[in-house]
Amino acid sequence: MIWPAVVVFVVLFALVSVLGFLGPYWRRGNLDLLHEWALGGRQFGTVVSWFLIGGDLYTAYTFIAVPGFIFGQGPIGFYALPYTAIAYPLVFFFAPRFWTIAKNRGYITYADFARERYDSRGLSLVIAITGILATMPYIALQLVGIQVVIAAMGLGGTGALRDVPIIAAFVILAVYTYRGGLRAPALVAFVKDILIYITVITAAIVIPAKLGGYGHIFASAGVALAARPKALGLLLPQAEYPAYISLALGSALAIFMYPHNITGLMSASGARVIRRNMIALPVYSLLLAFLATFGYMAIVAGVHPATANETVPQLLLAMFPPWFAGFGFAAIAIGALVPAAIMSIASANLFTRNIYREYINPHCTDRQEATNAKLVSLIMKLGALFFVLILPTEYAINFQLFAGGWILQTLPALIIGLYTRWFHRNALLAGWAVGMALATYMPLSTYVAATKHFSSIYALHVGSSVISGFAGLYALIANLLVATILTIVLDWLRITRGADKTTPEDYREAA
């Protein structure tokens, strides 16, 4: 066990736990109301939202997986740079409009919007289910992030004691989320982000200084990549262009379809706060860009992680005194708590609003609604805990790979629905079904038995040529095609469209 690292880690983790428990007392509100518990009362200003949304988007797992992926696969992993940059102009465009309609009509989830806009319980239900399905493995991966750093410190012993630290972290997370709702991760996000910035900025300065500068790191990584059994370079082979482009675009379109990210946006106090945040949030993308280069630094430093996920922890241990490595590990573990809390809240909202209140207890009181959401948030996290304790880590990783394609299939109803009701509700349902089927089938068909890996890159045969691209984006294109054709057919058959409960006035921003 690496004691200095463990001590720093435990102290910081304890500090944050206390902070999480102060959640209910910060900007007090009636936590028996769902919008207070789940959205922090829609009152967060530009600064709080920046920490909260940034802390939510850039998860612990991202910090572990991106450098690990680049360590193993080289330049293709850098698609994370365009991905996290081009997400923002899109959100700048549509999110203020969504915030406004959500505020004016009292929505807590995306599915609430689909319900009223399209007068369709079915559409609302499938959007809720897709959101919950996509979020669960994501929560599990946050716990994987905590597991990885705990293991790197040699903490947790062996046998039955092995899982004690992760269970302890889970209990802290579960209790403060239950009590404080979104206020708890909003408070923790301050600390999380400050720790992460200190770690990454320090590492981005100190490690290159030790390894001979950035120029040398890229040159050496290039040599090492070229010497591998499956030779890679510092540039993309031409055949990988479609994969790079479609991964960047598809992921950028998908990221704000995730329930936890839309929850973060809805907790803002106004459309203006969202616009301003889209200017300021790319700072996190720069941070992620530096983190991405850690993959190359690990190659040059000659660390030998057993799995890709251990790349960053092993790099920190190799390059820093143990106490600072412990600081970085705490940053990652605390970084897992913020998104995990928001994810469990967001999926609990979907279940409560769009399944419980819609199908199980339509006449529930506000208090019952909030209580139900709190309980479901616990269940979501418990499910994630079992996921990581009982099943191999590969399951969560593979599951999430599918989820990225699934969540994209809700885009036509949600983003396009904000601007036009041209699509017929049943056509959107059919498009969703086709999209989900393809987003499942395509990665399944890439299974390699030897490595037990799926791939989100699918080789699409178009005539005589093959274009290898992101399966989720292919599925989205099929989804839109089906929805378009069926809309024309259903309108021609005069199938009723239902009534739009939103009015143009609902979309208008208050001054």
Binding site: P75, P82, L234, L235, I279, P282
Partner: protein, 84 residues
């Protein structure tokens, strides 16, 4: 009392409403720039010109993360600036 209370808020609100109607969203087209520059991969998939030893492929993308923020800021100022 002109310096406090709700009364000075009223004309300001009315003024903002007026500006709102005039919020010029034509500038939003500029938001497409980062999509072109960052998704047109062949245009930057090269080692040269390198910057302090860092290949073009990498520093170009770093730069465009920062420039994306600048583009959004410019659009914000042109279409909403001074109004919110």
């Amino acid at each position: 009392m002109p310096s406090e209370g709700p009364s000075p808020g009223l004309p300001k609100t009315a003024g903002m409403l007026q500006h709102k109607r005039g919020a010029d969203r034509r500038w939003y087209w500029l938001l497409l720039i980062p999509y072109v520059t960052m998704l047109w991969v062949p245009s930057y998939n090269s080692l040269q010109p390198s910057l302090a030893g860092i290949p073009f492929f990498y520093w170009y993308q770093f730069m465009w993360i920062a420039l994306t923020a600048v583009v959004i800021w410019v659009v914000y100022m042109l279409s909403h600036g001074g109004r919110e």
